[in-house]
């Protein structure tokens, strides 16, 4: 584990040195994707467990490539507006959804605040939330991927 972490640190240094925004490598059967966040250094976005321990149903961690190339049927809910992401109806409350939540079309997934207005963002399809891709209180651009969803 420590060795894996050191290798990841080396990758992060390499990204910084060469000005690389996003990097995906396969190390000893594990796949690592590193993506630079807007506000600072690279942020590890997913560190999958080694392939031999993979649960067949646990598909989120061995998806590869950029979202647009995904051929496993994963869809993405993208923000239609610019603003601040809130995962819950109010501070301290439970989040609207999390990984594994099943949602119906039209169901509220999150709030994006813009110009003091709270905009509810609805799901455009029935499905199961695979991953919450952004953090509470994060600044969101137009078109930013908020959730990955497995259509049902």
């Amino acid at each position: 584990m420590a060795e894996d972490l050191r290798k990841i640190e080396e990758l992060i240094d390499l990204m910084d040195a060469r000005g690389v925004e996003e990097l995906e490598v396969e190390l000893k059967g594990s796949r690592v994707r590193l993506r630079k966040s807007r506000h600072g250094g690279p942020v590890p976005s997913s560190i999958p467990s080694p392939l031999e321990n993979q649960e067949p149903e646990n598909r989120q961690t061995d998806e590869q490539g950029s979202p647009e190339e995904d051929d496993e049927g994963l869809a993405f809910i993208k923000s239609p507006i610019v603003g601040t992401f809130y995962s819950a109806p109010e501070p301290g409350a439970d989040p609207f959804v999390k990984a594994g939540t099943r949602v119906k079309k039209g169901q509220v997934l999150c709030i994006i605040e813009a110009m003091k207005l709270m905009n509810e963002i609805d799901s455009d399809q029935d499905g199961e939330i695979v991953e919450v891709l952004v953090e509470n209180d994060q600044a969101i651009q137009y078109g930013e991927a908020l959730f990955s969803i497995k259509p049902l």
Partner: protein
């Protein structure tokens, strides 16, 4: 002073604002549509926010998206550039309501100046000479015909809500009036959301001369002299120069005084331009004011040694102008050519991928451009690729430098107006300074 400015624009003018901010140590936020993901203004800003899909209405004209971008990045001011939302009273108001400073005049002044008919009236009261015309847009055909009878022909119909040639019709005879009025209304409604049309006496082949003004919150109102913009095609400027060959020192002082007086009277703030027509007899008439930075501002900067964008930022931040009227002097002559992505003689738009891009520099040359090799000029926005500005000790030297630069400029992959500019710069009437806004019609007919 501001810590962070969001630039609500794109292309060369967004870069222009970044130049000033970098020199002043102010952080920048670029906003961009999906079509501008790889644009230079995005690359060179400190932060960037995608605000929408390519169409202007969804992105660069999208007030909530832009203000929201200012909120999430903590920008304390917005510079609107030119075009887009730069003259929108609504944008200025919404920006200020959210605690962000709008770098431009206050909303009330924007609205006054933006209503062309009202602006005419105010400037008339301020003592500026104006063309005879209607005080209010006539609301019925009967009233239009009545006003036309009074004014005589030729006359021009114009939109109160905007310019750029849209909603404009020249009417030379009574028979043409009704059709012209109806189509002008439709065009204005489509372009500006307001179909109001006013009438004005039409001066055949006038020269277009405009004055640059700056006003701060401390009572300083300064003019930076004039620009001549008579080389236009369909009311779109092609070549501008500073100073004008026909203006005497005395006329400059007199008009400058009138313009600063009018600016003071309406409570003008920040940068603005007052446009005049000069008829063949040498009479000046106020045409309209533009309450924003203009495309051709660099020629004034070259001749006066000022940085208008920095002054805009200083004014908005509550600081005094860097100079007083007595500090302004005019040195040499500057010419600007607007290089557009269009066929030089048919003017057919030519968006697409630029393969080779090199504008030659050398003494006295300034280049304001967001284009480069391998850039794709998107079809959604204006076709301006680059502004080339040449400055010299004299008009002859400036023109000589411009010709040299244009002839050594290589832009491949798209059509540009470079060959057209080269041709104009060899025209005897242009070289002798005897031209007016009728120049391009005559030039193209040949």
């Amino acid at each position: 002073m501001f810590k962070k400015i969001l630039i609500a624009n794109r292309g060369e003018i967004a870069l222009r604002v970044i130049y000033a901010c970098r020199e002043m140590g102010i952080k920048t936020v670029a906003v961009y549509s999906e079509a501008d993901r790889d644009a230079l203004h995005v690359r060179f800003a400190d932060e960037e926010v995608c605000i929408g899909p390519p169409r202007p209405i969804d992105s660069y004209l999208n007030v909530p998206a832009i203000i929201s971008a200012a909120e999430i990045t903590g920008a304390d001011a917005i510079h609107p550039g030119y075009g887009f939302l730069s003259e929108s009273g609504y944008m200025a108001e919404a920006t200020e309501a959210c605690g962000v400073k709008f770098i431009g005049p206050p909303p009330s002044v924007l609205r006054l100046i933006g209503d062309k008919a009202q602006a005419r009236q105010e400037m008339k009261k301020a003592g500026l000479p104006v063309l005879p015309g209607t005080e209010e847009p006539p609301e019925s055909l009967a009233l239009v015909m009545k006003a036309a009878r009074k004014l005589g022909y030729p006359l021009i119909l114009k939109a109160t809500a905007g310019g750029g040639g849209r909603g404009m019709r020249i009417v030379r005879a009574k028979e043409e009036l009704e059709h012209a009025w109806l189509t002008a209304q439709q065009e204005a409604a489509a372009a500006f959301g307001d179909g109001s049309i006013y009438l004005e006496k039409y001066v055949e082949g006038p020269r277009h001369i405009e004055f640059q003004v700056l006003a701060d919150d401390h009572g300083n109102v300064v003019h930076l002299g004039e620009r001549e913009c008579s080389i236009q095609r369909r009311h779109q400027k092609l070549i501008e120069e500073c100073p004008s060959v026909v203006l005497t020192e005395r006329q400059r002082r007199k008009l400058g005084r009138l313009v600063t007086g009018a600016a003071e009277r309406v409570g003008y703030r920040n940068a603005g331009t007052f446009e005049f027509l000069m008829d063949e007899g040498g009479e000046f008439y106020f045409l309209e004011a533009n309450a924003r930075l203009q495309v051709e501002h660099p020629i004034t900067e070259m001749v006066t040694g000022t940085d208008i964008v920095k002054e805009q930022i200083r004014i908005a931040a509550g600081e005094e102008l860097s100079f007083r009227q007595r500090d302004i002097s005019w040195t040499g002559h500057a010419v600007e050519c607007r290089i557009n992505a269009e066929h030089p003689f048919t003017f057919r738009p030519s968006p697409g991928r630029v393969k080779v891009f090199n504008i030659s520099g050398g003494p006295g040359i300034r280049i304001d451009s967001a284009a480069h090799a391998e850039v794709t000029i998107p079809p959604y926005y204006d076709s301006l690729v680059a502004k080339i500005i040449a400055h010299g000790k004299s008009r002859e030297e400036a023109i000589s430098r411009m010709r040299r630069t244009l002839s050594m400029t290589v832009i491949e992959g798209i059509d540009t107006t470079v060959p057209l500019h080269l041709k104009i710069l060899q025209d005897p009437d242009f070289l002798s300074g005897s031209f007016s806004t009728a120049f391009m019609d005559r030039f193209q007919a040949e």
